[in-house]
Amino acid sequence: MRASLAVLALLAAAACTPVAPYQRGYLARPDMAMEPAQAGTAKALEKTYSAKEAAFGGASVGGGGCGCN
């Protein structure tokens, strides 16, 4: 937990390469998105794995639960 918070703080405070608005063309590419799949694909995949594994979550909150027996 402490390590996680430390990394979050470091990322937030990171002195990175200056990026002007006109330099953000590559960052706007669809394959640079944090969720590289389309919404439907991502939702289906997330549920497929979480129904078979004990671990869950990490990316968002409020998705709700499932029986997944």
Binding site: M1, S4, L5, V7, L8, L11, A12, A14, C16, T17, V19, P21, Q23, R24, G25, Y26, L27, R29, P30, D31, M32, A33, M34, P36, A37, Q38, A39, G40, T41, K43, A44, L45, K47, T48, Y49, K52, E53, A54, A55, F56, G57, G58, A59, S60, V61, G62, G63, G64, G65, C66, G67, N69
Partner: protein
């Protein structure tokens, strides 16, 4: 509750499909109204998942979604999905053959899960606030979730901070025990940061804390153990702690390589909970442009977890307070390669096809020490997805 839903489904056997069809018919109306205003953009999409385990269940899942952005101020998202689950499911672990083995349901199960999610987001300059609502209904499980999330763009949008709060109120039932109606309530907390590292790289790190309490037992799982010095075996119904607190830390990195026309996508998640489970998930993918319209994305996902403190494939003596032989709480690892093909057309239509293979086994656990009773899982899946931007 389950019996009532069964009766309703009997009268309206195609109600879930009808609901999805109705939603699909409504989407063109949203599309048409969006075109009336020049500052409105969005997309609508449809995806279908087919998933099949060797010797076990088969899942078919159509998913429908839409997104509408108005004047760079408001954004609305909606999605709906229907899971159709058929086949056999693990229900009992017994040491009758000598070593513990998993047996599956004799009759084929036939379960349906309907889920829908709505989200509205309002932007206030460099800040935004979003609220979401999700509903999921199965014959034996009902979930109502709510979330609120705020984001702040800092340093000329190079840094985005996010905090969120989620709440889920669930009801657990059972198709084999109509009297079962228990609560499971969960609260979720999120903190995250997205950082632009350079014109070619961005990283996001998100921490979610989940605190759950209520009924976590699986009403369909049990353990049957024979002892050499006793005539009668012991049948122990799945019994888990009445709380589960978990932390998941997800970090995602994206780096584009213009010279190679490709993008590296790396995701790592660390998970731990107070049931004693420690898990790591790593996914590496490379998305390669093939001309202006096509791209291909090979990916490899690796997952490993340790067992829950109360996991056991046999009932020890003396009998513990909590015990589960559900192999999803055992120690194992999994490898999942996949391949995705993407076609983007100039008219805003995007077609995605993804094929993947899932292989979970005790021997794939990082560092060894997988649960001996874990039954190797092999599954294949395919997802076809179409979306249209406007």
């Amino acid at each position: 509750m389950a019996a009532t839903e069964d009766a309703e489904e009997g009268r309206r056997p195609r109600a879930p499909l009808a609901a999805l069809t109705q939603a699909a018919l409504a989407l063109p109306i949203v599309l048409a109204s969006a075109r009336a205003g020049a500052a409105q953009v969005g997309e609508v999409g449809f995806a279908a998942l087919g998933y099949k385990e060797r010797g076990l269940i088969k899942v078919t899942e159509p998913v429908l979604w839409g997104r509408l952005q108005v004047d760079d101020v408001w954004e609305f998202e909606a999605s709906g999905a229907l899971d159709i689950v058929t086949g056999a499911s693990p229900e009992l672990v017994t040491n009758l053959p000598g070593t513990p083995v998993q047996s599956v349901t004799g009759a084929s199960i036939n379960d349906r899960r309907r889920t829908a999610q709505l989200r509205a987001k309002r932007r206030f300059g460099d800040f935004s606030l979003s609220v979401s609502r999700a509903v999921s209904n199965e014959e034996d499980y009902h979930s109502h979730a709510f979330a609120i999330q705020g984001e702040a763009d800092l340093d000329q949008h190079r840094t985005t901070l996010a905090i969120g709060l989620g709440k889920s109120n669930d009801r657990v039932g059972s198709s084999i025990d109509p009297a079962l109606d228990e609560r499971r309530d969960t609260r979720e907390y999120l903190a995250g940061v997205t950082q632009v590292l350079s014109p070619l790289a961005v990283v996001q790190s998100t921490l979610t804390v989940t605190r759950g309490k209520g009924w976590f037992n699986d009403p369909y799982k049990s353990t049957l153990t024979f002892y050499p010095d006793e005539i009668l075996p012991v049948l122990f119904a799945d019994r888990r702690p009445d709380h589960r607190n978990a932390v998941a830390w997800l970090t995602r990195y994206r780096r584009h390589f213009p010279g190679a026309s490709g993008t590296l996508q790396a995701d790592y998640r660390l998970f731990r909970d107070d049931w004693g489970i420690r898990a790591h998930t790593l996914e590496l993918a490379w998305q390669q442009d093939l001309g202006e319209r096509w791209s291909i994305r090979p990916a490899l996902r690796y997952y490993t977890q340790g067992a829950a403190d109360f996991y056991s494939p046999v009932v020890p003596r003396p009998r513990p307070e909590v015990l589960s032989s559900d192999q999803r709480l055992g120690a194992f690892g999994g490898l999942s390669p996949s391949l995705r093909l993407v076609l983007r057309l100039e008219n805003g239509l995007t077609v995605e096809g993804t094929a993947g293979y899932v292989h979970d086994a005790a021997s794939l656990r990082l560092g060894g020490g997988g649960s001996e009773a874990f039954t190797t899982l092999r599954a294949v899946y395919g997802i076809l997805s179409l979306s249209r931007a406007f």
